[in-house]
């Protein structure tokens, strides 16, 4: 960093001899912004974790964080949970991805759409729906079971390790599906035909040709699902706490209860941070292996593989997945949102709009939270797009020395789990001199940091696809770099930028783990509010908020599909 900063003035001076490039000043600003958003919080968190009670450098916070067997046990539980959820995700995603991409299974379009719906569904809403469905005794599935088979209790108990892992997998598996399907979509049928002509059966071909070709993509996606599972906060709060299971994220949350121990939380977050960084490096190596060049998108036609009567079995399996991830939970949420009491089931006298009236017009907290969510997500998405495009442009056009450092700073937050980022932002900006705790600004900048990698990656790909000659043509004919940016680059990127705005907006509206320690009484967002309300057990209003959230999200997604393209969320 110091080297970077000392070289900067030299750059300005050498240009000044003929002409001061004002944009260079703007790009210096960019470095400052990135340091503020990314480097400082993470450094502050590490520093806090190494600071003892008396202010000296010490490892006593680590001793406190890992000194109790209950705390350490939570880390192991998290590890098992991550692996189990990943395994479930693979079981859900792989047959479906293969079926949709390669075979003549019926209803492929519907199944593809159902995965997209599961992808959009905030995990904590899914968890709430599943509490209503498979909670012990009162859950719908248990009551149906008792009605049919009799008995005192049903067999389903969501409040267990397996229930938790399953619900996590239900909303994490789309990642595996998207990665695998993209890889499968690129394999030419000729590769499989070649296996057939050389005497391999369908199963042999799948096992020895198709699967090995997409294996790197599957492993890469599995790593992402694992990382998402261990970093999840909402679902564990809803399910693990009643089940008396302690995981890393819920443990970190306890350090934020009275007495507040941010330094211990910082120390405790380190294993999660390290795991994430290491696994992302592994994932990158896996996906960049050059041995699998055949996944190149060229080479011949693709036609669906005829799998005979098996297609009905596969379709039934995919139908079951669509039902348990999207259809049944959605119906449950809707039924609850329009009910006076969710347990009384579907009947006319149970139907009401009171829940919506209450949350939208009567309860100021809910209304404020909805407005906050929109404002924060919108501002964060806008800032992400602007900073992302600046980063992409500066690094792709090599306008500043050390483009690698800038790129690294912009992408680094990807390797920081949301809850760890929350700890870092709390450590860096909650107290003086910034004193941002409880303000909306703190949440916005935390969101910007968290989602900057998404917009920066999208913008980088877009800028890379722009021929630099388009900008050089502006310069040589008399336009400044600013003219080139405003008249050519931004107009040409507008579609991509709009797409990443929408993507960040959607993800930000449901972001929970980053917001959870940073919201104050006046800066609550919907996701945090839903979690708070769940403790009171008023599921009807909860479901109504969830429905509002889903309606907004769906509308925005539809907008994105219309203006950017159907696959804008799942493009790889």
């Amino acid at each position: 960093m110091p080297a970077l900063l000392t070289r900067m003035p030299a750059l300005l001076v050498s240009k000044r001899r003929f002409h001061l490039d004002l944009t260079a000043v703007g790009f210096l600003l960019l470095i400052a912004v990135l340091v503020f958003l990314v480097a400082n919080p993470i450094i502050r968190m590490v520093v806090e974790s190494l600071t003892g009670a008396d202010g000296s450098i010490s490892l006593e916070r680590y001793a406190q964080a890992f000194g109790r067997s209950r705390y350490v046990q939570a880390l192991w539980t998290t590890l098992y949970l991550g692996m189990t959820a990943t395994a479930f995700s693979l079981i859900l995603a792989l047959p479906m991805a293969w079926g949709v991409s390669r075979t003549n299974m019926p209803f492929r379009g519907f199944f593809n759409l159902s995965v997209l719906a599961a992808f959009i569904m905030p995990p904590f809403l899914g968890a709430i729906a599943w509490i209503l469905l498979a909670g012990p005794n009162a859950g719908w599935l248990n009551r149906v079971w008792m009605d049919v088979f009799g008995g005192e209790s049903g067999p389903f108990n969501l409040f267990s390790f397996w229930g938790l892992a399953m619900v996590i997998a239900l909303y994490a598996f789309p990642l595996v599906y998207i990665f695998t399907k993209s890889a499968l979509d690129l394999i030419s049928t000729e590769l499989e035909d070649a296996a057939f002509i050389h005497g391999a059966g369908r199963l042999d071909t799948l096992r020895r040709v198709t699967l090995p070709l997409v294996l790197p993509a599957i492993c890469g996606a599995a790593i992402l699902v694992f990382l998402e599972s261990i970093a999840l906060y909402g679902t564990p709060v809803l399910i693990a706490i009643p089940a008396r299971i302690n995981v890393a994220t819920t443990q970190i949350a306890t350090f934020f209860e009275f007495p507040l121990r941010v330094e211990v939380a910082a120390a405790y977050a380190m294993p999660m941070l390290a795991t994430t960084v290491v696994l992302l490096v592994v994932q990158r190596l896996l996906l960049s292996r050059k041995g699998y060049v055949s996944v190149s998108g060229k080479g011949g036609e693709r036609r669906p593989l005829d799998i005979g009567p098996w297609k009905w079995l596969l379709a039934a399996y995919c139908g079951l997945i669509a039902a348990i991830t999207v259809v049944v939970p959605l119906v449950t949420l809707l039924q609850t949102a329009f009910s006076r009491a969710w347990g009384r089931g579907l009947s006319l006298d149970n139907l009401t709009l009171d829940n919506f009236k209450a949350i939208l017009f009567e309860q100021a907290t809910v209304r404020d939270a909805i407005i906050n969510t929109m404002v924060y997500a919108g501002s964060a998405a806008m800032a992400c797009v602007v900073i992302g495009v600046a980063v992409a442009y500066v690094t792709q056009r090599r306008l500043l020395p050390f483009p690698g450092v800038i790129q690294f700073l912009a992408l680094a937050p990807f390797a920081v789990p949301g809850i760890v980022l929350a700890v870092a932002f709390y450590a860096a900006y909650a107290g003086p001199p910034f004193s941002l705790y409880g303000s909306g600004l703190l949440i916005i900048i935390a969101f910007v940091t968290r989602f900057l990698p998404i917009s920066a990656t999208a913008a980088t790909a877009a800028v890379r696809s722009l021929n630099p000659e388009l900008e050089e043509a502006v310069r040589i004919i008399g336009g400044s770099r600013y003219t080139a940016l405003s008249r050519v680059v931004v107009p040409l990127l507008s579609k991509t930028l709009f797409g990443s705005f929408i993507l960040v907006f959607i993800i930000a509206t449901r972001e929970l783990s980053t917001a959870v320690f940073l919201t104050g009484p006046n800066s609550r967002v919907m996701s945090v509010l839903i979690l708070d309300l769940s403790e009171q057990g008023s599921y009807e209003e909860l479901a109504a908020i969830g429905v509002v959230m889903l309606v907004v999200t769906t509308a925005v997604v539809a907008l994105g599909m219309k203006f950017v393209g159907r696959d804008f969320m799942t493009r790889r």
């Binding site: 050498s14 240009k15 001899r17 003929f18 002409h19 490039d21 021929n467 000659e469 388009l470 050089e472 043509a473 502006v474 310069r475 040589i476 004919i477 008399g478 336009g479 400044s480 003219t483 008249r487 050519v488 107009p491 040409l492």
Partner: protein
């Protein structure tokens, strides 16, 4: 006074020099091509002239004013030049009219004036009817014309072209080549044209600068480059040639199996008795069925191979007592059987002693 002067130009990336000590001076209104194989540094040189890159050493001056040096450069937009790119770089978000008018608009010309000049130049490149189209609706040749119009309408001090024809198909290429030269002659712009295609460079240029591995090999008129190459590289790179070794004598060059008479070459300051390399163009060799009466120095040869190419014959011949193989180009009427005999005489043009 020269319009554009490149002096001792060097460009290094890390340790490797891409352009090495290049000197070049263009007169006002001259059309000069930078010709060389890919990776020879010609595009790097053009980009330094445009101001997209700073030279590591040396300078670039226009009208005597320093534009580029190692310590800093005038940015491209302040040079009053314009450029045509390999990809044409037509902005896809603007119409043809907006593309062409862009340079005038950033020069803050009044709107009416911009409209008038855009209309004029589009008529000149025969695109007047396409003014409101978007580039995606145009063919490659039309896009090229838009690029030309856009570059010329601002009346640039210097027009730069970076392999502008390499993305066009063959027959369109010749049309566009003529178009570029016509516009050059009409507007009289000093022009630098980068290409790796020697026939293109020969057809379009006043002078050609042949560049190899970052060095200027020779700058000359197309005729001189072809007939009087001064380096081995130029002799081989421009057209086809026979490169033969020989020993310079008082009255001729003695090669293996044949000799070249003194009136067919300039000795280039070499002394008698020293070994020399000679470039003999296939067109400089003439084949006769009988020994020519007026030329006693003609050599009897065997026809080794022949290829009929429609416009001419391509023969490979060897002097009777030698294994030296020479390529000779002959008109369609001059047919000789493979394995038969002929007499070979030489033209003065097309024979050059290499230094």
């Amino acid at each position: 006074m020269s319009k554009l002067v490149l002096e001792g130009l060097v460009k290094r990336y890390g340790g490797t020099a891409v352009v090495k000590d290049l000197d070049l001076a263009l007169h006002e209104g001259e059309f000069v091509s930078l010709l060389g194989p890919s990776g020879c540094g010609k595009t790097t040189t053009l980009r330094m002239i445009a101001g997209f890159m700073d030279p590591t050493e040396g300078s670039i001056r226009m009208n005597g004013e320093l534009l580029s040096s190692a310590s800093g450069s005038t940015p491209p937009e302040k040079r009053g030049m314009s450029m045509i790119f390999q990809s044409y770089a037509i902005w896809p978000n603007m119409t043809v009219g907006e593309n062409v008018g862009f340079g005038l608009a950033v020069r803050r010309q009044p709107k009416a004036e911009v409209r008038k000049r855009v209309a004029e130049i589009l008529e000149i490149v025969q695109l007047g009817h396409l003014i409101d189209r978007y580039p995606a609706e145009l063919s490659g040749g039309q896009q090229q014309r838009v690029a030309l119009a856009r570059a010329i309408v601002v009346r640039p001090q210097v027009l730069l072209l970076d392999e502008p024809l390499s993305n066009l198909d063959a027959n369109l290429r010749e049309d566009m080549r003529n178009e570029i030269r016509r516009l050059h002659d009409e507007f009289g712009m000093t022009t630098v044209y980068v290409t790796h295609d020697q026939s293109e460079a020969m057809a379009i240029s006043d002078r050609i600068a042949v560049i190899n591995e970052g060095r200027l090999e020779q700058i000359d008129s197309p005729w001189a480059l072809y007939n009087r190459p001064r380096t081995r590289f130029v002799a081989e790179f421009i057209g086809r040639t026979n490169l033969v070794e020989g020993v310079l004598q008082d009255s001729h060059i003695q090669c293996e199996g044949f000799s070249i008479t003194a009136d067919a070459f300039e000795a280039n300051g070499k002394r008698a008795g020293s070994p020399v390399a000679v470039s003999i163009r296939p067109q400089a060799l003439q084949l006769h069925a009988e020994q020519p009466l007026h030329d006693r120095s003609a050599t009897p040869v065997v026809i080794r191979r022949r290829t009929y190419l429609g416009e001419h014959w391509d023969y490979v011949v060897s002097p009777l007592s030698s294994s030296t193989e020479l390529r000779a180009s002959a008109p369609p009427a001059a047919a000789f059987e493979q394995g038969g005999r002929a007499w070979m005489s030489m033209n003065r043009d097309g024979i050059a002693v290499l230094p």
